[in-house]
């Protein structure tokens, strides 16, 4: 089932020396442009393949060849069938709305003439700004250039804004007469359900609601395969050695089985066995929302960035009770190192200590306990599910190197090097990408 992943398919085709010359060039060409439709064609064929893939490599290649030529034939038809612009994918979470927007760069003069003014204005508005209103932000560093989607080449933009500002967004959509474009708005996340009627009533927009975990997985698999440089996936080398702990690219070859840990407001942990075969193993309510919520209450901060900033300047060991605070050193009887946290916020049981700590210390302690707890649950799930590779995603990890290093450390240390923590650059946007993919290739 590995060929279900486009990334995987690329490598296989390179390995296949006896491949038909006539087939290879367009295949390579389309792959190099990361043509989503090609990948998807493989996928739709893959469904029939999936039942017969237990056979040897040769027969797989034969089928692949057939499917590739079919793909080429279908490109033309798809060009006519592809949805009208604009292309959006949306993920409305508990805290943030994530929006991906595909900006076509291959618009012909003819097209330009036909393009309605509304569409143009939306494109210009989104691409010429990096901030929208008071709270909307475009993550420019994540923008994917020269991406080919359904035969069209363009840039993929990543935009986010707080879920509580959704009314303002809907107002804008209404002002810009978004509904006149007769586009389907593919949306996932809980908000797709919660705000469906608001979309209809306030902006005259009909949502196509999609399951958030389906979208998450297809988004992860697509972005990982579509982006080659800089590598989408990375890890921290030497996580147990702060001096030499550095970010390193990682190639997600043979990704399955993998544990996908999505840390948004809450946390979902998925065991993924193939593109279409996954289960939500468990989740925890101690997630990004808990970090921010507690930080707001404890320090009076008002944003994630502010909370992280404070955390980076604090010292959690003043707040937490460490093993050495209880045992004077390591608890050797049970192999617990003295530096391990015995009780998160444990020192705060004591009045004097409550009075001697700073807000920064509290922010740091909150970050450390939430992160370590996620690490701990993840490690146990990985053991129970017998999975060694863990990919952490979600907006909790945005600009949060502290947590990523902590997770890397925790995974490595407590598993004695058995588990590896992996991260993806587009950490919080995969659901939205998955929604966009659904627009282009409805399953």
């Amino acid at each position: 089932m590995e060929q279900l992943n486009g990334h995987q398919g690329e490598n296989e085709s390179l390995d296949t020396e006896d491949e038909d010359e006539a087939v290879q060039p367009p295949l390579k060409q389309s792959r190099s442009k990361n043509d989503i439709c090609n990948n998807f064609r493989v996928d739709s064929c893959g469904k029939t393949e999936a039942t017969s893939t237990t056979t040897g490599g040769g027969s797989v290649i034969d089928e692949r060849r057939t499917s590739n030529s079919t793909c080429r034939q279908r490109l033309d038809s798809l060009r006519k069938n592809r949805p009208p612009f604009p292309w959006f994918g949306m993920d409305i979470g508990g805290t943030l709305v994530k929006l991906v927007y595909f900006e076509p760069k291959d618009i012909t003069a003819e097209e330009e003439q036909e393009e309605v003014e509304n569409l143009k204005s939306i494109r210009r508005y989104l691409t010429s700004n990096t901030a929208y209103g008071k709270t909307g932000i475009r993550d420019v560093h994540l923008e994917l250039k020269d991406l080919t989607l359904c035969g069209r080449t363009g840039n993929l933009h990543f935009i986010r804004f707080p879920t509580q500002d959704l009314p303002a967004f809907l107002q804008m959509a209404r002002n810009k007469h978004f509904s006149s474009l007769h586009t389907t708005l593919c949306a996932t996340g809980g908000g797709a359900y919660k705000f469906e009627s608001d979309f209809r009533q306030m902006a005259d927009l009909q949502l196509l609601k999609l399951d958030e975990l389906d979208c998450l997985i297809s988004g992860v698999l697509y972005i990982d395969s579509a982006v080659s440089s800089p590598s989408e996936c990375y890890y921290y080398e030497n996580p147990t050695d702060p001096e030499h702990c550095v970010q390193k690219p990682f190639t997600l070859e043979n990704p399955y089985p993998l544990l996908l840990v999505n840390i948004g407001s809450g946390v979902s942990i998925l065991a993924v066995y193939s593109k279409n075969n996954y289960k939500r193993v468990t989740g925890t309510s101690l997630g990004g929302g808990t970090f921010l919520g507690l930080c707001c209450l404890l320090t009076g901060c008002s944003s994630f960035e502010e909370a992280l900033q404070m955390a980076s300047q604090g010292e959690s060991t003043r707040v937490d009770k460490l093993v050495r605070d209880i045992y004077g050193g390591d608890y050797e009887r049970f192999g617990l190192p003295g530096w391990a946290v015995a009780s998160s916020f444990g020192n705060m049981m004591c009045k004097e200590k409550r009075e001697s700590i700073s807000k920064e210390d509290l922010a740091r302690a909150t970050l450390v306990s939430i992160t370590n707890n996620i690490g701990s649950i993840t490690r146990m799930v990985a053991l129970n599910e017998n999975i060694e590779r863990v990919v952490f995603v979600g907006n909790f990890l945005r600009v949060n190197t502290l947590s990523m290093k902590l997770l890397s450390y925790a995974m490595d240390y407590w598993s004695h090097g058995q588990l590896k923590a992996l991260f993806l650059r587009h950490e919080g946007y995969f659901g939205a990408v998955g929604a966009l993919l659904e627009l282009l290739n409805p399953s």
Partner: protein
């Protein structure tokens, strides 16, 4: 079987009297603000040795071993070979002092530690004690104080090792130690039957952090994991968020709060449930998720509640992950986060149910707070081999679950100015107790027929019944010691104590595990013993035995005149009629006290005519036509007519058939039940009159064993180890259980792996009513285990043909 010889001691020595005076003097020098209730706490300090202390964050738990002097009723046979005069009693009864071992555990707030150490110092006599074993986080802090005050060397023991040792000890020795907590049920506490093999289990200790320990055997355990998010997180974070300092106040806040205003629920994100994943709308998606976006103020209560949910759910989730990884289903929770707090027991239970979909139950322990100190004590007492003995909870000296414990309601207590404490006392049992080898499934065996904690009507009735009977018990207790003038005073103390226990049980039926008729009876026995009324029925039993013995030969003679089939019925009827004589049952004691002429024949007439309420007599008769049993184990009931004119003729017939007989009787007195020592004398006397019995005794075909019990009821999972040995050696294939206490209140549903007879006359109209019968209805239950293929299988027991 030989009785264990016990040392006897004079009741008071002059030294002890001097000690008593010293107690009074020293109590004046204590802190004026609090008074230690000297006759209730730190009892038997004069004999105390082997101290252990567990000092936690707020509570101190002290343990010591002491010897307790008790009066016991001893029977001694007169020399009957010389002469046998009319009117002279069969045996003499004397009160003697007996020394038994007891473990004392006391829990109090750290604030009182100095007062308590002073008290102990002033009362401690034993100078052999040099060391005090210590554990717990506070042991270090108070080390100097303890060494200075008590002049004992503090010897520190590993906390986790003590905890596990203590846990194994209570699980092994206290039958209803573990319970499941069900918040909204009629009875919040569902006590668990202790599995004969307590291992393996997972212990989740929620102190300031969380430790997860897998225990595989007495000495093999491993800390498999843990979490830093524990009680300290609740307390520390809670204190920061709510400015509330005390742990229990935080819990009180939490119990009044609404977490939904602080937490982001699934429905806050989805507008409803997340159907495809089966996540309901009320599920917490993100703890404290709302406090990140909403600007409004949150109430202390709501934040505390949210925090409580967050931490409980997190611990529950980890516990489940570890339980699954190690494939364990028995998961016990302990630590100060749990300790007696319904709020946290509920949230942890909820979390475990959620994450395991009900596959794993969260188990809690009644004496969880004492585990550390019990373990530390056991470490120090290893040379005494405490694990070689069986121990029993003394209901008279233990506070019981959710007593006015120092864990709860600190505010209320501080104001009252009294010294709050909680106690546990465990008596060393003379005999090591084991399962009856003939139990079909020891792990599912429940002795008691009705759990009064789950049956409000039955509970009301029996509590009332025991309260009503109290006057009579007090009267009889005084009458049993005519030579002791202070008996009346002691009897009043007994009345006060037992009435107080009954009141406690009315409020907290769960105090000592499941409330049952057995536990009510046992509590009464413990209270009687506490005030030196070891055997209030001794005189009555003596008189009854004397009367019955006179009729023995006549009874045998009239039985022998009957045809075989008539005789079998007469034997069963005789046994049942004999069982009517039971001073324990109020209806009978009324008749007996008002009409002393009420005789054996009259008792037979009182019996219900066949078909009986439960009547398997025909099947039994059929069985008797078959080959004899190899060996019958007979649990006997009352003294007097019951044992002499009911049981002996019955077993005599069995012996004649070639069946060996083992008579199991109580080790110590309970009501008018015949004790092992009385039975030995009776058997001697009967053997002297009857050749069948005589030769059976001589040839060791009739054996007397003690049950190991001193209860009017019978727990087949706690029987004398020697009895179990005899049962096995002799290939016992028939068990006879006689009497209301042993065959109705307990064991009515007990499943044995061999044939069994359960016989009783219902001498309580309420119970008769419950069972659909009337007063003096007969239960004659003959059961054959399903695996046995016998000729009697075509009859359904209980349906007379």
């Amino acid at each position: 079987m030989t009785r264990l010889s016990r040392g006897t001691r004079p009741m008071f020595t002059s030294k002890m009297a001097a000690e008593c005076q010293r107690v009074d003097r020293s109590s004046h020098s204590m802190d004026k603000s609090i008074t230690l209730p000297a006759d209730e706490i730190f009892r038997n300090l004069e004999n105390a040795k082997r101290f252990a202390i567990d000092i936690g964050g707020s509570l101190t738990k002290l343990a010591y071993y002491s010897t307790v002097q008790h009066k016991v009723a001893k029977v001694r046979s007169f020399d009957h070979t010389a002469k046998e005069t009319e009117g002279e009693p069969l045996y003499e009864i004397s009160m003697q002092e007996e020394v038994t071992a007891r473990l004392h555990f006391i829990k109090f707030e750290n604030a009182y530690i100095e007062t308590c150490l002073d008290f102990i110092k002033d009362h401690l006599v034993n100078t052999e004690t040099k060391v005090i074993k210590a554990t717990g986080g506070g042991a270090h802090k108070f080390k100097d104080l303890i060494e200075k005050k008590l002049k004992l060397r503090v010897d520190k023991e590993d906390e986790m090792t003590c905890l596990i040792k203590g846990c194994n000890f209570v699980l092994r020795n206290i039958p209803h130690e573990a319970f499941v907590y069900v918040k909204h049920a009629d009875s919040e506490f569902r006590f668990q039957n202790t599995h004969p093999d307590i291992f393996p289990y997972l212990l989740i200790n929620i102190g300031s952090g969380v430790s997860i320990v897998k225990v595989e055997s007495e000495d093999k355990f491993e800390r498999v994991g843990g979490s830093s998010i524990g009680g300290g997180t609740f307390w520390g974070l809670g204190a920061l968020l709510t400015k509330t300092k005390r742990f229990d106040e935080l819990l009180q806040l939490a119990s009044k709060g609404q977490h939904t205003s602080v937490d982001m629920l699934v429905k806050d994100i989805y507008g409803g449930s997340y159907g495809s994943l089966g996540l309901t709308g009320d599920l917490i998606a993100s703890s404290f998720g709302k406090s990140a976006t909403a600007d409004n103020e949150f109430s202390k209560e709501d934040m505390a509640k949210s925090l409580l949910h967050m931490i409980s759910n997190d611990i529950g989730q980890l516990a489940c992950l570890y339980a699954r990884l190690h494939n364990l289903t028995r998961v016990y929770f302990g630590g100060f986060f749990i300790r007696g707090h319904p709020v946290t027991m509920h949230t942890i239970t909820y979390s475990i149910n959620f994450f395991t979909k009900g596959e794993v139950q969260a188990l809690f322990l009644r004496h969880e707070g004492y585990l550390g100190t019990i373990g530390a004590f056991l470490k120090g007492a290893e040379e005494d081999n405490p694990n070689q003995y069986s121990w029993g909870e003394n209901y008279a000296g233990s506070s019981g679950l959710m007593s006015v414990s120092p864990d709860l309601n600190p505010m209320q207590r501080t104001r009252s100015g009294t010294f709050p404490f909680d106690m546990l006392e465990m008596d060393r049992l003379e005999r090591q107790l084991v399962n009856l080898p003939l139990l079909q499934d020891p792990s599912s065996y429940i002795p008691d027929t009705v759990d009064l904690s789950e049956d409000a009507l039955a509970r009301e009735y029996w509590l009332y019944c025991f309260e009503e009977a109290l006057d009579g018990v007090v009267k009889r207790a005084v009458a049993s010691q005519p030579d002791l003038p202070e008996a009346a005073e002691r009897a009043e103390k007994f009345r006060h104590k037992y009435r107080h226990k009954l009141q406690t049980l009315r409020q907290q039926p769960f105090a000592y595990g499941s409330l049952t008729v057995r536990s009510l009876l046992d509590t009464r026995e413990h209270c009687l013993n506490e005030f030196n009324f070891p055997d209030p029925y001794s005189k009555i039993k003596q008189r009854e035995n004397d009367i019955a013995l006179k009729y023995f030969q006549k009874a045998i003679k009239s039985l022998e005149e009957l045809s075989w089939e008539q005789r079998q019925f007469a034997l069963v009827r005789g046994l049942l009629a004999g069982n009517v004589f039971d001073w324990g049952a109020k209806a009978v004691s009324d008749v007996l006290e008002s009409d002393p002429e009420f005789g054996f024949e009259q008792a037979k007439r009182q019996l219900e005519e066949r078909p009986w309420l439960v009547d398997a007599y025909d099947q039994w008769l059929e069985r008797l036509k078959g080959p004899p049993h190899k060996c019958a184990l007979f649990f006997v009931d009352n003294s007097g007519i019951d044992i002499i004119l009911g049981v002996f003729p019955f077993i005599r017939e069995l012996l004649c058939r070639g069946t060996e007989v083992v008579l199991a009787s109580n080790s110590s007195p309970a009501l008018n039940d015949v004790t092992n020592s009385e039975l030995q004398i009776l058997t001697q006397r009967i053997a002297a009159m009857d050749l069948v019995i005589q030769s059976a005794v001589k040839e060791d075909r009739l054996t007397l064993v003690q049950s190991g019990s001193s209860s009017p009821c019978l727990d087949l999972s706690r029987l004398d180890k020697e009895l179990a040995g005899v049962v096995r050696e002799r290939h016992t294939d028939l068990v006879v259980i006689e009497g209301m206490g042993r065959a109705i209140h307990t064991n009515y549903y007990a499943m044995l792996s061999c044939e069994s007879l359960k016989m009783a006359v219902i001498k309580n109209s309420w119970l008769a009513d419950r069972l659909g019968g009337k007063l003096f209805s007969v239960v004659f239950k003959y059961e054959v285990p399903p695996s046995h293929k016998t000729t009697t299988q075509d009859h359904v027991p209980g349906t007379p043909s």
